[in-house]
Symmetry: C2
Subunit: 158 residues, 2 copies
DNA sequence: GATGAAACGATCATTTA
DNA sequence: TAAATGATCGTTTCATC
């Protein structure tokens, strides 16, 4: 894992802003951070190069895309060994419904956040893509009423 | 909930691209989608106005920000009534560690994805911010080994 | 939906603190 | 070493077809 990087208050303002709006013009971002545009550009490039900023993307609404049913699938993989785990991860990530995948502590636990078209397509996903696999010992399904995103991620105030 | 929106293959290519890279120049996006830049700009604006695109943001690395310990907290809130649930949600979303919050089916379940500085700060979070509250009946903690993001979200192929 | 021109922002060499 | 300036270059954007 990477070392912590030294970030001053200007970097933090840039990060806080960009986490909420990746498409803000550099000029406006500079104004928000209180520095000149050229300096701001340097800062953002440096944050990318040092790995603080991993990437960017837009968020799409699963409902408007015809995937109104979101769920968390709690999966037990057995035996919990790399030759079985790695292909399982690849398989899950290749599913179009998959939003996020977590590998958790505990002897054998994965959590999958999925966005499905309907209860029927969720059932198909569980039966045909998960429990049909030999290494999948158990799938527990929780539907999602609502999901919220946290605010911008900032370093702990030391 | 919002109706499904009609999206043609050009829209889908735009969405697939933007989900991986919100900062792509409109000119390049247009080339990737096979349309003129002005048309592409119209499309993207329409996707925003119709609510298909909810927002944008950069992803930051929790490790480099000094938050190397991620966990999922499974929380039972009792009694599970709005006068207690709404302030609980507000409280969780105001925590700097919170990345995501899910309200799930089941009588009383929330799941919180957090990024903490250390085991000690995670302990403090659980004890002081969660179990210290009257409505929090139970907190179960799972550490996260690894987390993956799914690919671009696209409509089910009808 | 494309074209082409005007306006604006991004970018970089240079200068300054 | 880090930031600002200012000119150039590119993209965005809009009227028009």
């Amino acid at each position: 894992m990477r070392q912590s990087v030294e970030l001053d208050p200007v970097d933090l303002r840039i990060l806080a802003e960009l986490q909420n709006n990746a498409r803000i013009p550099n000029k406006n971002l500079a104004a928000a951070a209180g520095i000149a545009p050229s300096t701001c550009l340097d800062r953002v490039n440096r944050l990318r190069e040092t790995g603080v900023i991993l990437g960017s993307g837009v968020t799409v609404d699963p409902d408007t895309l015809g995937r109104p049913l979101q769920a968390l699938l709690y999966v037990r993989v057995q035996p919990h060994r790399r030759p079985l785990v790695d292909p399982f991860v690849d398989h899950v990530l290749a599913l179009p419904e998959t939003r996020e995948l977590y590998h958790l502590t505990g002897p054998d636990d994965f959590l999958i956040h999925v966005a499905a078209e309907s209860a029927q397509s969720l059932q198909r996903l569980v039966l045909d893509e998960l429990t049909a696999r030999d290494e999948v010992a158990l799938v527990h399904t929780n539907l999602i009423f609502q999901r919220w995103q946290g605010g911008p991620l900032l370093p702990p105030t030391a």
